[in-house]
């Protein structure tokens, strides 16, 4: 399973990658929206772990782009905010507050990937 992980925080990204790899995923990483999108277009991706708060192109914009290209790929949106805009939440399959811990992240990611295919379309609708 290949996961695309996008976050502008270098250290955080590096650590998250280690956690995901430890759980057995293949991980692609990008430091900003545009380079994340180009990885998304150039690779078969089973799921996306996306940070919301990024300079220039935020997670909402990246998710919108991905949905328009390959709507079935599930997206997990990470954020330090509690109050994310509703339309952004609607774009993601799952949202997770940063700091909830790696166990929560891995559980939610597994559930999301499991449900992908049939339920990803529902979430879109």
């Amino acid at each position: 399973m290949t996961i695309l992980c996008i976050d502008d925080e270098a250290l955080g990204l590096q650590i998250r990658r280690a956690v995901l790899e430890r759980a057995g995923y293949q991980v692609l990483t990008a430091m900003d929206g545009p380079s994340g999108l180009s990885l998304f277009r150039g690779n078969p991706v089973d799921g996306v772990v996306l940070d919301y708060y990024m300079p220039e192109m935020d997670g909402g914009a990246v998710a919108r782009e991905m949905r328009s290209e390959r709507p079935h790929v599930p997206i997990l949106l990470l954020s330090a905010y509690i109050n994310l805009p509703a339309e952004v939440v609607a774009l993601a399959d799952v949202t997770l507050l940063k700091g909830e811990g790696p166990v929560e992240l891995l559980d939610k990611l597994r559930l999301m990937l499991h449900a992908s295919g049939s339920s990803a379309r529902e979430a879109l609708g």
Binding site: E9, R22, Y53, E56, A80, K98, G99, E100, P102
Partner: protein, 592 residues
């Protein structure tokens, strides 16, 4: 009638009677002289008559003597002759002298002298006892005829003189009558002229006087009314008003001033201002400068020092906002001072509350950024803990621990920076503006990055000023957040810091300039920028940020001004904050 006119009239009133009286006196003198002349002529005529009669009596004496001697031939009989013949020629000469100017009479006198000479010639033979003379009746007859002739001539002369005298007498009478008449007439004339003239002028003066009196009455009424009007106005306004003379003695105070000072105006009147209007510095409680002295010194309207507290007579204390202005006379001399002040205690409490709420708002505005800043490293630490728990490779464990330490350090730094927004020393401390601004930028870093803002720092070394760090952090957070909002996505901000030399109006210190590439501030808005509740951010802003920032900077003895960035790439707002190296802010005066 104006004063010069009035004086002219007065002069005329004195001069005209004088001139008229002099003229009248002249005329009367002329009349009197004429009358005196007539009288003199009368006297001369009397003298001539007397003289002629004297001569005649001398003739008679001589004739009598001669006749007696002729009849008796007794020389003793010649005594009258001799007595008369002695002065007769002198009498002739005197009469001649008197008759100068009367040719007719002179002619008669000539005749008389000639007849007398003839008669003397006739008398000679008699006197010399010529033979046949004594009883010659013919001779005697001739002598008698001659003497009759002399007498007739003398009588003619007397008659003529009497006639002349009568004429002169009549003339003198006439003159006297004319004199009386002219005296009477001129008195009436002068009296009439004077009466008319005086009446005219006195009437003019009197009218003018009445007008003046009316005018003065009207003016004094107006003055009274306007005084009442001003009094009522001063009484009615909501601010306290105290007026003093130039020596600082209270002359007026309104109801509000009575209430605030605790002095009744009757008691306060006549007292020195500093007794009635006791003001001290709000915090130090040092007596503040007497506003009258200050106005006298500066000769202009003054706003009294901030933080002025009025100590009322009854022990109440009021924070006041006040001003004092010189009262100037029409000629520009200072004749008093008027003080206007109001109780701002409530207002100050409100401002303090507003400043506190703005402080919370700043924290609120930072909250999102701070949450992100803290949650990011926390997330990493949680992840690292998870990795560590299942990692056996010592090298990797050490790596994870190092990373966890790094993330924890970052969290602590952020939390410290955030706390420093609140933790405040009691007195101003020396602080490095560079560190302070870097700290603020650290908190705002995420936000700057998110908006893709290019930040240009022109910060040379370190600049140390005295101040309250939390408050100054609040100021620069406000200004930089404003610049970020204005610059917008992919905008540019330049922060420049430089030292400021001591100048005429300020001491040495530092200037921090924050310029952005935003749309700038419209001219009509500039003046409102530092007023409370003014915002260009709609519901997003409290409208208190710049107002509070200005308050903090002013408290430090600094200033915030709008400037020009001088860079075409930064056309937006350019705010220059000046902070003095030695702050004016006192201990324990940190804004709540």
């Amino acid at each position: 009638m104006n004063p010069p006119e009035f004086n002219r009239t007065l002069r005329q009133l004195i001069a005209l009677p004088l001139v008229l009286l002099v003229l009248m006196a002249g005329f009367l003198v002329w009349q009197i002289v004429a009358a005196a002349r007539a009288q003199e002529a009368l006297d001369v005529s009397d003298q001539i008559t007397g003289q002629a009669e004297e001569l005649e009596s001398l003739f008679i004496d001589q004739e009598t003597g001669l006749r007696g001697y002729q009849l008796t031939a007794d020389p003793a009989m010649l005594a009258p002759w001799n007595a008369a013949s002695q002065p007769i020629q002198a009498e002739f000469a005197r009469l001649r002298g008197m008759l100068t100017g009367h040719p007719e009479q002179l002619h008669r006198l000539d005749d008389l002298q000639a007849q007398y000479s003839k008669w003397l010639a006739y008398a000679q033979p008699i006197l010399h006892h010529d033979p046949g003379v004594a009883d010659d009746p013919q001779l005697t007859q001739r002598g008698k005829v001659m003497m009759d002739g002399i007498r007739a001539t003398a009588s003619g002369m007397l008659l003529h003189e009497a006639q002349r005298r009568t004429r002169q007498y009549q003339r003198a009478q006439q003159l006297q009558e004319r004199e009386l008449l002219s005296l009477f007439l001129s008195a009436i004339l002068v009296g009439t002229i004077l009466a008319m003239f005086t009446r005219h002028h006195v009437r003019a003066i009197s009218a003018s006087y009445s007008r003046r009196i009316l005018e003065i009455t009207r003016r004094s009424e107006e003055l009274f009314e306007s005084r009442q009007w001003f009094q009522t106005t001063l009484e009615s306004i909501g601010d306290a008003v105290i007026a003093c003379d130039d020596q600082g003695v209270v002359s007026f105070m309104n109801v509000v001033a009575e209430k605030l000072t605790g002095w009744a105006r009757e008691e306060a009147r006549g007292r020195k201002l500093e007794e009635v209007f006791r003001i001290v510095h709000e915090e130090t409680r040092q007596p503040a400068e007497n506003p009258v002295d200050k106005v006298r010194r500066l000769r202009q309207v003054i706003g009294l020092a901030n933080h002025t507290m009025l100590l009322a007579r009854n022990g109440q204390e009021y924070l006041i906002d006040d001003s004092a202005a010189p009262i100037q006379s029409g000629r520009g001399a200072m004749i008093g001072v008027v003080l206007v002040f109001r109780d701002v205690t409530e207002e100050r409490h409100m401002q303090t509350a507003l400043a506190a709420s703005e402080k919370l708002a700043v924290a609120g505005r930072l909250a999102a950024s701070i949450a992100h800043e803290i949650h990011n490293p926390l997330d990493s630490v949680a992840n690292l803990h998870f990795l560590l728990s299942a990692e056996s490779d010592p090298e990797k464990r050490a790596d994870y621990l190092r990373m966890a330490q790094q993330e924890l350090g970052r969290t602590m730094q952020i939390s410290r920076t955030m706390l420093s927004l609140y933790r405040e020393p009691r007195a101003p401390v020396p602080l490095d503006l560079k560190d302070l601004i870097e700290g603020v930028l650290l908190l705002l870093d995420r936000r700057l990055q998110h908006q893709g803002i290019r930040l240009q720092r022109e910060i040379e070394g370190s600049l140390v000023v005295e101040g309250f760090p939390a408050e100054l952090r609040q100021v620069f957070t406000n200004l930089i957040v404003n610049a970020i909002d204005a610059a917008g996505s992919k905008g540019r901000i330049r922060i420049r810091m430089e030292s400021a030399e001591a100048g005429e109006l300020h001491g040495a210190g530092a200037i921090v300039e924050i310029a952005d590439s935003g749309p700038g501030i419209p001219r009509d808005v500039t003046s409102k920028l530092f007023q409370p509740f003014f915002t260009t951010k709609g519901a997003e802003g409290t409208g208190l940020g710049l107002w509070v920032s200005m308050g903090i900077v002013q408290k430090h003895g600094g200033a915030i001004r709008m400037g020009e960035s001088g860079d075409p790439g930064l056309p937006g707002a350019c705010l220059r904050v000046y902070l003095p190296a030695r702050t004016l802010a006192g201990a324990a005066s940190a804004t709540a």
